[in-house]
């Protein structure tokens, strides 16, 4: 099987330069047969990045992926609280640059209308929007989105493609919240390898809407890959989850950019 990872960061490994970190991460990915990775956010994170911080983090990702064009896709990191700056970053990194998706984290809950211009612009560029979602028993951050928040946003933008990063982590609730929103794929990364998640996701939303991601280097590639390789689902469904679904989501923008895969 061929494996593409929908979700990694320049973290968890040593290296002063972004390309050094990505190189190290790809060494680990090689050991598990992971062919390509999507990378976003820089070497130092913040919950609510300023425009300058966004630009720096995106520059770091840009620099990293430039060294590995056959292995890594970049997603541009945006902050809806800085709408004009984020729209400019979207144009700089996706329209005019090499990046192929959008990453939204915890600066602002995603159901709010302020996100609409960003999503419209992403859809125009055929860029997939990956939104962090979590449901914490310990309490979410003020700007942290839930799967229900993302379902609301996605319903307002039926022509856009979304990835629910972490599927809420409390995945039995997250999958239910996203079940009836066909333009959202549920992504398996960034929470414990609790058995049954992939089986439930396939049962409830269909294998064509489930994506493998790791959240490496904070997470292990291995623990997250196990959610698919260990699941009681068909080999065909595993291939969809491990690569084919992500490839399908990225194909429109890759074709637009003339990137052959």
């Amino acid at each position: 099987m061929t494996i593409w990872d929908a979700h990694i960061h320049l973290s968890g490994v040593p290296g002063d330069a972004p390309e050094a970190r990505l190189e190290r991460l790809l060494e680990y990915a090689d050991r598990l047969g992971i062919e390509r990775v999507c990378v976003f956010m820089g070497m130092k994170w913040s919950y609510a990045p300023s425009p300058d911080d966004l630009r720096q983090q995106n520059d770091e990702v840009w620099r990293a992926i430039r060294h590995f064009p056959e292995r890594a896709f970049g997603f541009v990191y945006l902050n809806p609280n800085h709408l004009a700056a984020s729209l400019a970053e979207l144009d700089r990194c996706v329209r005019d640059g090499p990046m192929v998706g959008v990453k939204l984290w915890v600066a602002r809950r995603c159901h709010e209308p302020v996100l609409d211009p960003l999503v419209r612009r992403a859809a125009e560029l055929k860029a997939v929007v990956l939104q962090h979602t979590y449901l914490k028993a310990t309490g979410n951050l003020p700007g942290e989105s839930t799967p229900t928040d993302l379902a609301q946003l996605a319903a307002r933008h039926p022509d856009a493609s979304f990835i629910a990063a972490h599927t809420g982590a409390d995945w039995e609730l997250g999958i239910r919240a996203l079940r009836d929103t066909p333009n959202v794929s549920v992504e398996l990364c960034g929470f414990d390898p609790t058995a049954g998640v992939t089986e439930m996701a396939v049962r409830e939303v269909g294998a064509a809407r489930v994506l493998y991601g790791s959240d490496a280097g904070g997470r292990s590639f291995a623990s997250q890959l196990a959610k698919v390789l260990g699941a009681q689902i068909s080999a065909a469904d595993k291939q969809l989850i491990l690569r084919d679904n992500l490839k399908r989501l990225l194909t429109p923008i890759l074709q637009t950019k003339g990137i052959r895969i």
Partner: protein, 301 residues
């Protein structure tokens, strides 16, 4: 009694994840560095999973939550023996009954393939009898503790007393630091992660107990894990994260303090297995983690 000690470590073949990836690996995976496979003789390599749990998880049905199915899964992956606790031992008050069922369930799997680790709660009335039954009536190799689920801290005097008593009975003591991420627990069953710091001075004081800490990575930093290891504890890999996490752990701790634990069936077994491949361990290190260290615990000098 298992036959693991008869195996020559040089005969240890393949990393854990090879089985997990069988049939799925790309050419890149096939070419990727991994633990060197010493020339094998075709004999089945030893692999001991020290962290499996039998019975029903109260909050969802799990794949492989029937004992024969779990054993079948583990065997299919190449595991040759497993140390089993029981979810009943976490949530029930009648631990004597839970431990008796566990012992019987393990016995049915035949020839010591599953080693029962009964639950003891030192805050329950009559806990010493539970411990004694585990050691004498059930002939268990060890016991499993769930301090946070049972409501005591590791600086509780009863816990220290338990360690001493377990040492006298030559029981291995498994301490489960947590069962799941506290962020994703059921709202009616919020349980904190264990504070493992008080365990360090107890181990240094020499209670005589052989201690294995399970699912510790959310409860302890690497420096604390190192202190625990230096004080004599072994730690499993079920909740170790970060890329190359097992390799990092081995570098921080002595390799003889790291044991293979999957936390199956609550976790996908393949998680722990694939971590070994991700870390590209040497054959000897991999063998120590997968079997050698657990065997040493069973047969203390």
């Amino acid at each position: 009694m298992n036959t693991l000690s008869a195996l020559n470590r040089r005969e240890f073949v393949q990393t854990a994840a090879t089985a997990a990836l069988a049939g799925f690996g790309s050419a890149r995976a096939a070419a990727a560095p991994r633990s060197k496979a010493p020339a094998g003789t075709g004999r089945h390599p030893a692999w001991v999973d020290v962290n499996v749990t039998l019975g029903r998880w109260p909050f969802r049905r799990l794949p492989f939550d029937e004992t024969p199915a779990l054993v079948g899964k583990l065997r299919q992956q190449g595991v040759t023996a497993a140390w089993a606790g029981t979810f009943d031992g976490v949530f029930h008050h009648d631990l004597a009954a839970a431990n008796a069922r566990l012992a019987e369930d393990c016995r049915r799997q035949g020839r010591g393939w599953l080693r029962p680790f009964g639950s003891v709660n030192p805050k329950l009335p009559g806990w010493k009898r539970d411990l004694q039954q585990c050691a004498e009536a059930h002939q268990m190799a060890g016991i499993r503790l769930h301090p946070t689920y049972h409501g005591y801290a590791l600086d509780d005097a009863a816990f220290a007393q338990l360690l001493v008593l377990a040492g006298r009975h030559r029981l291995i003591v498994q301490i489960v630091a947590d069962l799941e991420d506290e962020r994703t627990q059921h709202p009616l069953a919020r349980v904190p992660h264990a504070n493992l710091q008080p365990l360090v001075p107890l181990l240094r004081a020499g209670t005589g107990a052989r201690v294995v800490v399970l699912n510790w990575a959310r409860s302890a930093s690497l420096p604390l894990a190192k202190q625990l290891a230096e004080a004599g504890a072994c730690l499993d890999i079920a909740t170790v994260e970060n890329v190359g996490g097992v390799d990092n752990l081995v570098r921080q701790l002595s390799v003889d303090r790291v044991v293979f634990g999957s936390h199956a069936p609550l976790f996908y077994f393949e998680s722990a297995a694939l971590k070994l491949q991700e870390s590209a361990l040497t054959a000897e290190t991999s063998w120590a983690i997968r079997a050698g260290n657990a065997m040493r615990l069973l047969s203390p000098v």
